[in-house]
Amino acid sequence: MDKVRFRIDGIEIEAPPGTMVLEAALDHGIFVPHYCFHRALSVAGNCRMCMVEVRLPGRDGKLEPARKPSIACATEVAEGMEVLTTTPLVTEARKGVLEFLLINHPLDCPVCDQAGECDLQDFSYEFGEAFSRFREDKLIKHTKDFGPEVRFYGNRCINCTRCVRFTQEIAGSCDLVQVQRGGHNVIDLAPGRVFDHPLSGNVVDICPVGALVSRDMLHRVRVWHLERTPSICPHCATGCNIEIHTQDEVVHRLKPRHNPEVNGYWMCDFGRLGYKHIHAPQRLLEHRWQPRDRAEGGRLGFQSVIELVAEAIRTAGPEGTWALASAWLTNEELWLFRRLFGTEQVALIARPPWQERRFYPVWGDSERNPSLPRQRERGRLLEDGATFMIAADRNPNRTGAERILGEQACAPARLDAFVNAALAGQVRCAVVLASMPDYLPPEPLAQALAAVPETVVVDLADGPLAGAATIVIAGAAWAEKRGTFTNGRGRTQRLEMARPTPGQARTELEVLHALGTQLGRPMGPCSPRRLFGELVGEVAAFAGLSWEGVHHQAPEWSPHMAAQPRRLPVLSPAALVRQRGGGAG
């Protein structure tokens, strides 16, 4: 396709015809402030923030100065076009828009959760004025909970309609609408609706101001205290790229991280709220010995518990030992697991597919989950042609397990084989590496585990699984690990450690490494990175991957943020006085 050549602020740019000026500018690191424009949504052109001066060559080929500014989001690039983003026409237009946006804004930043990541704050600081000429009463609009995850503060809303377009174009539910008109315009629920769509939390991300905020994190933390760790959401086989936001080692929220080939800009609410188990009161913080035949037992240190497990495995012998891995282990942990236990007397445990009946877009293997038909008709295409959907498989790394342990080891038949062997009394020792939140072992498995004389369970929380064990080891949640997951479409992605393991808890990597050492196997150094290197060399499905390559660096770090982290100019007190002096008191 022929490219159009034009210039933005003197920089020569080539772009395919049909590109909008705003996209071209952002792609080339020229920041143009904008509110209503979002790359994944249709163009509305209503906020008027992205106005630039566009000069087109006239009949004589000379550039003619523009009489009025144009919005960059709805202006197509043209051959020979000259776009200017810093002329007085543009700066004055931006000041005007910001003045209009702020006249009815409550300026309640001190109690607003968006403060610190608010485009209204940032742009006012960078492009606006430090005074207001507005002397009238402000308009009052409603505040209400749109749904379980989203609260709406009408007074803060700038009516950009990103959220309305999201529910129309991405979620397909049309839950949100704009009602009234003129200055009374306000976002509201469509009649008779509750905004409980599984993708509802995304409107909080795309809201450029504090109008739509998360009820989950309401007034809990100030965003500038949050540390951001890039990671992967573990709650289904989609493997949405996310950021884990922590303060003082406490996870406060998960945010989607843009990856056009996996999740676009989005993630679902199941994933978004799927960090609660990390801080659950039932979380295992220490290792325990709870023998079946004796009343004694109790807390153990890590080394003691490992010695106990090694003893149990030695006693049981290779024939009497089975090991179960969960589809929540990282590829590196699975690799170490395979080195330790082989691929014969091992099986895979995993969370069952979604059972809820309510509509949401789900993708997945319909043979594995015949109850869940593919629902592709709703939702918008991501860049690679896939639709943003939640995977039916509620496990992050089933594919990785299949690649490392083999399809047979991961088949349900193998787990049945274990259950039968255990119930027949052939299993002397079972090692279960679960570390899955909300996992209820199916009844036969629970019975089988209870029938095995020595059952070792590595898990996150007290529950039926830990209850069936004789030795309980406190494991690590996914946010406490480094490693890689391979999603349902075969893409290997890296997760990073956002917080240390709590209490005595250890990562499965540490558990496996200590156990191997105790059993006298040559383990060698076991960093996730090193293990991943081994995996690349030894397992064909991982050939060609690199530790650096499996981490997707989002071009846009966070959906509400600009293309590049911007450094704000620091206004000197003198400049503030100058600005105020220009206004009316």
């Binding site: 163009v43 509305a44 052109g45 209503n46 906020c47 008027r48 923030m49 106005m51 009489r67 009025k68 500014p69 919005i71 709805a74 202006t75 197509e76 004055e92 237009a93 000041k95 005007g96 828009v97 003045e99 209009f100 946006l101 006249i103 009815n104 000429r133 507005f134 002397r135 009238e136 009463d137 308009l139 700038i158 009516n159 704009q178 009234q180 008109r181 003129g182 200055g183 009374h184 315009n185 009316a584 008191g585």
Partner: protein, 321 residues
């Protein structure tokens, strides 16, 4: 149902009955022309603008489209769409169809050209309202002198003060200074305003210009569709400021604020609604600044206790009395 709407629907029905509309009209196979009933649900005025109609017709919300293309290139359903006023369409058969002249198109064109001025030929239905004895719609040649037009509408017992010559968004003119203005496109442009919809609103000396502007701005604040920031916020802001001045609570800097917000709104929106509410602000302050200042100085409306009270506070711009 409004009378105008009844007549429109009736005319459409009549045309169908006579075979002028529908499938294969005039017996030409495949020549289909359909006219839908116009939408009746209330819509903001901005939806009646050229860019507003097509989203409205496909029920996508009554807001003007931000498409950079003109509707004639890409309008309804992305197809080229011609959007015209009823006046234009109503005159077409007389001009190009030789309607009433035995189908002689040349005669129709010559007849059209025999009226009006060189650059603005033809007729125009002027809707004259306000302080004239016989308000109503007058079909007159373009280029008619404003003074003659007002006399034709019956004149008025008190001296005139101002006229809005082209619908409420046209810039106001002072009277009697502008009585000689030629009521056509060029003449009014020369006078710094526009012919617009040819809605002529006449005000006599009892009218408070601040109050009249407040009346207009109330309309605009109510009619803005609220899509673009400057118009959504600016209309309400301007209304509140002018209301305050009229109540005698104005400050001198309010006038600068009004002019400043007008500057910041004009040319910054999708449709021309921002211009529509800003031109009255700019022209009222430019031509009647002393009246605004009197409101602010005296902390009251000087006309409330003056001639206006005597005249019984007759409404301005209310159409037929």
């Amino acid at each position: 149902m409004p009378l105008g709407y009844q007549r429109l629907v009736g005319a459409v029905q009549e045309a169908y009955e006579r075979g002028l509309l529908g499938k294969g009209i005039f017996g030409i196979d495949g020549f289909d022309v359909e006219i839908d009933d116009p939408p009746r649900a209330p819509a903001p005025t901005s939806a009646a603008k050229r860019r507003g109609c097509s989203p409205r017709w496909r029920a996508a919300g009554a807001t003007p489209s931000s498409s950079p293309l003109s509707p004639a290139v890409s309008g309804l359903f992305g197809c080229p769409t011609v959007v015209n006023n009823v006046v234009t369409i109503a005159y077409l058969p007389y001009i190009f169809g030789g309607f009433g002249r035995g189908g002689d198109a040349e005669a129709g064109i010559a007849w059209w050209r025999s009226h009006g001025t060189e650059k603005s030929p033809g007729l125009m239905p002027y809707s004259i309202s306000g302080h004239v004895r016989a308000p109503g719609v007058y079909e007159l040649p373009l280029g008619t002198r404003l003074g003659d037009m007002l006399e034709l509408a019956g004149g008025w017992e008190r001296p005139w003060k101002a006229v809005i010559p082209g619908g409420s968004s046209a810039k106001i003119l002072r009277l009697p200074e502008s009585l000689d203005v030629s009521m056509d496109f060029e003449g009014l442009m020369q006078a710094g305003t526009m012919l617009g919809s040819a809605g002529v609103i006449v005000m006599d000396e009892t009218v408070c210009v601040v109050d009249a502007l407040y009346n207009l701005l109330r309309f605009y604040a109510h009619e803005s569709c609220g899509q673009c920031t400057p118009c959504r916020e600016g209309t309400g802001w301007a209304e509140k400021i002018v209301a305050r001045i009229e109540k005698g609570q104005g400050r001198m800097e309010d006038l600068d604020t009004l002019l400043g917000l007008a500057d910041r709104a004009i040319g910054k929106t999708i449709c021309v609604f921002a211009e529509a509410f800003c031109w009255p602000i700019q022209s009222c302050i430019a031509l009647f600044r002393e009246e605004f200042e009197a409101h602010i100085r005296e902390r009251r409306c000087p006309l409330r206790a003056g001639p206006r009270a005597a005249a019984g506070e007759r409404a301005v711009g209310a159409g037929a009395h």
